[in-house]
């Protein structure tokens, strides 16, 4: 590509001829601005991704040369009951987790928003941001002890409030393990979603809110009929980010359950990781990654379409 050499000249020209830059050069400016970033994307992201997609059509153990086998990996994948279980778990986990995190973060954001003092608002925001410095593995370690059957906090708490009968080996049985993993990180406020919501709430048009107050609109109605519709954008964004995170969920499996008991907490990412690095089946593993990629794509596409369908908050 000879563009960079030419372009630097172009920039120099635009600068020198200040008042009215020659028309064609200005048209190039945005391309020049995005060129470095896209060069990086091509070299560091797209090319490796295309290579990975190619490997998904091969049998490859990471050592020998890959042999092309067409769609065989994919047809095997959709007959692999373990993978199908992993997909099911992922779907459940992602839907529930996204829902809980969005609701909790939104709830906390409304609480913070309802406080009048700016000082206290900032205080709470900071209080919920600071815990982000704790590494994820430490958080998981703490939660392992929350769910522990013998000396875990959850069971002790149940005994303390007289609900000893409800004690469970939370991570140790198929019926509760995925739920336990789902709850790791409760109350889910130390999250990016919370910050986005508080900031968005603060910038809602005050005329609308004042009008609502004058009309005697109570808080719940205001949240349901004004805040939520106006926050479609931020909510859609966080939902997409959370879903993408859910599709790639791996650490709780690695740290807490190894995908068990049985297949109850298995996830596609864990399946991919194990298939690649423990079984040495890179071709098969990359086909899992490609399926994850496609799911992410399809979901994001439709959620963006839904977000703009009949949206009240977009003026463009």
């Amino acid at each position: 590509m000879a563009v960079p050499a030419q372009s630097s000249g172009a920039v120099a020209v635009t600068e020198r001829v200040k008042p009215r830059a020659p028309f064609p050069w200005v048209k190039l400016v945005p391309y020049l601005f995005i060129l470095p970033a896209f060069t990086l994307f091509v070299v560091m992201r797209y090319i490796p991704a295309i290579q990975a997609i190619y490997y998904s059509f091969t049998e490859w153990n990471g050592i020998r040369a890959a042999t092309f086998i067409g769609l065989e990996n994919y047809s095997r994948l959709f007959q692999d009951s373990l993978f199908l279980d992993a997909l099911k778990n992922m779907a459940g986990y992602t839907v529930m987790r996204t829902l809980i995190v969005v609701v909790m973060a939104f709830f906390a954001a409304e609480l913070v928003y309802s406080i009048r003092s700016t000082f206290m608002q900032t205080f709470w925001k900071i209080a919920f941001i600071i815990p982000l410095v704790v590494p994820g593995s430490v958080v998981l370690l703490v939660w392992a002890f929350v769910f522990n059957t013998q000396s875990g906090i959850l069971n002790s708490l149940l005994v303390a409030v007289g609900l000893g009968d409800l004690q469970q080996p939370w991570l140790g049985q198929s019926s509760t393990a995925l739920w336990a993993i789902l709850l790791v990180g409760f109350p889910f406020i130390s999250s990016f979603a919370f910050l986005i919501y508080t900031s968005s709430l603060q910038s809602l048009p005050s005329e609308v809110l004042d009008a609502a107050r004058v009309d005697g609109c109570n808080t719940l109605r205001r949240i349901l009929y004004i805040d939520l519709p106006l926050m479609r954008g931020p909510i859609a964004l966080t939902v997409i980010l959370l879903v993408l995170e859910g599709i790639q969920v791996l650490t709780p499996q690695v740290v807490l359950t190894g995908g068990g008991p049985g297949t109850s907490t298995e996830s596609p990412a864990n399946f991919l990781y194990r298939t690649a690095f423990q079984y040495g089946k890179f071709g098969y593993a990359t086909s899992v990654g490609v399926v994850m990629l496609l799911i992410g794509f399809v979901f994001s596409y439709f959620s963006i379409r839904m977000r703009y369908k009949g949206a009240a908050d977009v003026d463009v």
Partner: protein, 486 residues
């Protein structure tokens, strides 16, 4: 002059003598090049500077003897992250260490695709071993027969040296046992199960074993239960190429296991299989700690024992030193009881030893080393590294492992497990090393559900046979055993 100093001088003199012998025998070849060595836990310069210094000293002596050779030590990759990911990426890119650690069953699965067969070198003299010490004339003599038997790959080759070993034992909280009128001697398996019942009735969790689809201590139980149920048959499955007259009883290797499945001599419809499931379920229901399938790792299991939450725990010899420091109540180490002839209709031995090479000192040479023309250098370094004089000094920093090189001595902590060494070897290795790694994970999953009562014995059998068969198909595709098409 302190005793330490005297000893140091003695050690230096000894190593000088060895060095001279080494130089004398290595001189004619003139080794040169850069060898990378990954000693795993023996080399953690940040966390264990003393141990790392010992390793560096050993290596410095070597490079002094072989000035043409540079040795690059690669520090241990953090535990808890995946070493396999680290190594596989490097193998794929062709820049793995020349001499690297790897778990023996993973290594034997990768075999000559990744690793250099050491079989021929095992027949050669190891010049770094002094005369009179086993291994001087034939390197293989440096290692006990059971070590060689258990680390042999499916194709009959050895791809690694195993310099140390680990054992397991049942740790018992004597105070808790006593308080419930129990002790740690049992007349057979049922007596043990009855003690479990007594403990449970008193509200105490009997035996700490944890279980995930990945590596977990449950696998040791499975080794014993399979050996208990199929011990009689195992010798019938031996293949001549793996047999040695010195070892009439040994662990089945992957090919033998695969062939037994292929021939149908190991299948889910045998009465032994029912017995195997029965004792597994009995133990799960009566003895194992509640929530065993939700305990994530060995440390958490250990913590439950140290906290006194469980009366007994099946733990490894490698943490005995640590446990001795941390446990504040009277405890002892013993072993699971033996099955009697009445209890086991298929009795071969009462119980079996669960120990093995899954330790730190497992080293092999990567194939890329051959391509780089460094094979001779790597073999020479490996011979030097595994000689008793070098390895003793390396080993001394990890006293909880059990050295397996003739001419080295174990520490007290490791000696405590010598009683286990006298027991017969288990016939079956851990599920994750038994056939293919996929088989291991799937085995663990099914048994997790079975032991939790989430599936019945019949459901397990229906799902288990296909994963056995699949493992054989995979192995045949990979290894091309000569019986595969029969």
């Amino acid at each position: 002059m302190s005793k330490v100093k005297q000893l140091t001088i003695l050690a230096v003199l000894c190593s000088l003598v060895i060095a001279i012998v080494g130089v004398a025998s290595a001189q004619d070849t003139e080794l040169s090049g850069t060898i990378t060595l990954y000693p795993q836990e023996y080399y953690r310069p940040d966390q264990d500077p003393e141990g790392a210094a010992a390793v560096e000293a050993v290596i410095q002596e070597y490079t002094a003897m072989n000035p043409g050779v540079t040795v690059e030590l690669v520090p241990s990759v953090p535990t808890g992250t995946d070493y396999t990911a680290w190594l596989t990426t490097r193998l794929a890119a062709g820049n793995a260490p020349n001499i690297a650690w790897q778990q023996f069953y993973d290594r034997n699965r990768q075999a000559d695709e990744v690793w250099v067969p050491l079989t021929d070198f095992f027949e050669m003299p190891n010049p770094y071993i002094p005369e009179g010490t086993p291994g001087h004339d034939r390197w293989a003599d440096s290692f006990p027969d059971f070590v060689l038997a258990q680390t042999r790959a499916g194709d009959g080759n050895w791809y690694q040296v195993s310099l140390d070993w680990v054992e397991t034992g049942l740790y018992i909280n004597d105070g808790v046992m006593e308080a419930n009128g129990l002790d740690s001697t049992w007349d057979g398996w049922n007596d043990f199960l009855n003690d479990c019942d007594t403990l449970k009735e008193a509200g105490i969790q009997p035996v700490g074993v944890f279980m995930t689809p990945e590596w977990s201590t449950y696998q040791w139980l499975d080794d014993i239960f399979t050996s208990v149920a199929f011990g009689q048959m195992a010798p019938d499955w031996y293949l001549p190429q793996y047999s040695s007259e010195f070892l009439p009883w040994r662990q089945l290797v992957t090919e033998e296991m695969a062939k037994a499945v292929h021939d149908g001599s190991f299948n889910v419809n045998m009465p032994q299989f029912d017995f195997y499931l029965q004792i597994t379920k009995e133990f799960a229901d009566r003895c194992i700690i509640e929530g065993f399938a939700g305990i994530a790792n060995y440390d958490e299991m250990q913590r439950l024992f140290i906290e006194g939450n469980v009366a007994m725990a099946w733990l490894g010899s490698w943490t005995s030193g640590f446990l001795t420091e941390e446990i504040k109540f009277p405890f002892s180490v013993t072993y699971l009881p033996e099955f009697t002839a009445e209890e086991n209709p298929y009795l071969k031995y009462g119980t079996y030893r669960v120990g093995g090479p899954s330790s730190t000192g497992q080293y092999g040479i990567t194939q890329a080393t051959v391509d780089a023309g460094l094979l001779e250098e790597a073999v020479d370094l490996l011979m030097y590294w595994s000689s008793p004089a070098s390895f003793q000094r390396v080993y001394d920093s990890k006293p909880d492992l059990i050295p397996m090189v003739a001419g080295t001595t174990a520490t007290d902590a490791a000696m405590g497990f010598q009683f286990v060494a006298g027991m017969p070897e288990r016939a079956f290795t851990d599920p994750i090393g038994r056939l293919t790694p996929e088989f291991g994970t799937e085995h663990n999953r099914l048994f997790q559900q079975f032991m939790l009562g989430e599936i019945t014995a019949d459901q397990l059998k229906a799902e288990y046979q296909p994963i056995l068969d699949q493992a054989v198909v995979d192995l045949c595709a990979q290894e091309n055993y000569d019986w595969c098409n029969s």
